[in-house]
Symmetry: C2
Subunit: 329 residues, 2 copies
């Protein structure tokens, strides 16, 4: 399907980061018609939502959640991994409209992939994410996310580890305590999870969904916590959709501990190792909208200087989002 030789990593000296060239990706499937959706189940009878004649990526007539290697990978063994996670066989669903038990099952799938990919010696960081909406470049509308297994620890988690060092402890733990104490930006909470607009959000409607207790990764969460996480994520995403009464585009990024320190034979619960490496399970959402119709564009200041300029105070967008979450419930 893909040619390993077409993937190349180069170190960008001025930014101090790796850039990955995956040349075959220029040919990847681009906004196919519904009939040609490669993430729908293969239905030989050609019923709606499937494809007659030709197989899709998923050679079964129905499924709950499907995970497979990305046909157009940015990473590939033995230098990392790139997988696709299809949330449902319903082409018209979305993360927010999944049945609660399906969303909960998705947490277990994520956990399983984090465990399996993280155990590989060539994977130093497991990154689970979803791009939603043409505004963030989505090329397939069927509800799905992706997983990259980076063969290095990328810049953003590296910055999070630096924050731990600077604060002398877990940064997400300390930020969460501050948000709960302040309260103005808290969006939604349950026994295990808190959603809030961070005090120094870069995007107008940025939100973070953080485990109350220190959990380095999904592997440290008990079943109750995984169910609560799914519930908080769905509440937020339904709130996003209610905010402007339209499907709300976003990047959803699941941040967990790097898997650098984990050797192939280590036991599944990597509490000690992960705590040493740092990391606290939290999910960050970066929505590109600044109003119902206007986008926030990272431009001169963001790209050339690295400083986000925002039009919206986090307290104000939090108030709007809090109401939208109630409407979306």
């Amino acid at each position: 399907m893909s040619d390993r030789s077409k993937i190349e990593e180069r170190f960008n000296e001025l930014r101090g980061e790796e850039v990955v060239y995956a040349i075959h990706r220029q040919d990847r499937t681009f906004l196919p018609t519904r009939k040609h959706c490669p993430l729908c189940p293969t239905r030989p009878d050609g019923r709606a939502g499937g494809r007659a004649g030709a197989d899709t990526e998923i050679p079964v007539p129905a499924f709950e959640i499907a995970v497979f290697d990305n046909r157009f990978p940015a990473f590939q063994a033995p230098r990392g991994a790139a997988e696709v996670v299809v949330y449902t066989d319903d082409h018209d669903a979305s993360f927010g409209t999944l049945a609660p038990e399906r969303a909960e099952a998705l947490m277990w799938v994520w956990r399983h992939r984090y465990e399996e990919l993280g155990a590989r010696a060539d994977v130093q960081y497991v990154f689970i994410f979803e791009n939603r909406g043409v505004e963030v470049g989505v090329t397939l509308h069927h509800p799905h996310g992706q997983i990259y297994g980076y063969p290095f620890v990328p810049p953003v988690p590296t910055l999070e580890l630096a924050a731990d060092a600077r604060l002398g402890g877990c940064a997400p733990c300390s930020l969460l305590a501050g948000e709960l104490e302040d309260g103005r930006r808290v969006l939604h909470q349950n026994e295990a999870v808190v959603a809030y607009v961070p005090r120094a959000a870069r995007w107008p409607y940025e939100a973070h969904v953080t485990m109350r207790e220190h959990r380095a990764s999904l592997l440290e969460c008990d079943p109750q916590e995984l169910r609560m996480l799914a519930g908080a994520l769905q509440a937020l995403v339904r709130g996003y959709d209610a905010l402007f009464d339209r499907p709300f585009p976003y990047v959803m990024a699941i941040h967990q501990a790097p898997t650098t320190t984990r050797a192939a034979g280590d036991p599944p619960a990597l509490a000690a190792g992960a705590a040493a490496a740092g990391g606290h399970l939290h999910v960050e959402f970066y929505p590109p909208l600044r109003t119902a119709e206007k986008l926030k564009y990272p431009a001169g200041s963001e790209q050339g200087a690295g400083t986000f300029i925002s039009d919206v105070l986090p307290e104000e967008s939090a108030a709007e989002l809090r109401e939208a979450i109630v409407r979306g419930t």
Copy 2:
């Protein structure tokens, strides 16, 4: 015009960077009709390209280059500066179509602003840039750029200083030597300036325009070098426009030495101080296009992990751009 109290800086702990909230900017002029362009000259007779009755931002009937405070500033004294630089009174021109002597004059304007803003105690980094095209969020089409005087050294120049430290010398000097030796990505050169697609470009058609000799800032350049810089920048931008035979969107970012170390009374030529602080004048272009019609979207990997995934090898886009520059001449 604006309310200082509406500008607020907050430190984003997880990213280790400042975020700036400039709330009044939500009301800024958004894609006005040609008749209402605030950057056109004020022509009481209402001739084309001007505005009858009401004044524009520029209260004169004609001008060459105009610089003034941004009405919707992201920074404002005594915590930095935000200025607008209008390249011409011709609404339909662009940086690439300016007469060579006008482009050269613009280099002197930039130099003057770098000097004056850099001398201020509240400005630690002078950042000159241009956002071009609706694809990068431009709200006014009249050809213009901007200048931010940051009251701190932002993340990108900080990373460039870190690169100097890592390489034990000036990183742009050493990268330029590598590009000249390799040669495959060089786009255009003259006696003083070299344009190339960097070996580890993040954007498909990213290009850097670098002074051959070590020059910390525009203040260190002699008149000949400033003319050569204008010429190389215009050649590149005309090549961009020729590439897909359409106005080519980009962010143009002028990187120079921070002005942290410079006190108000220092002499204009800050050779010694700037060399100590690090920095080498170069201009980076980040174009969002990956084909004539498709955009490259920074999404999950770029935003959530900090790693750019590119579809295009720098050698290949350099070959295309080199031909386009010849066509655009």
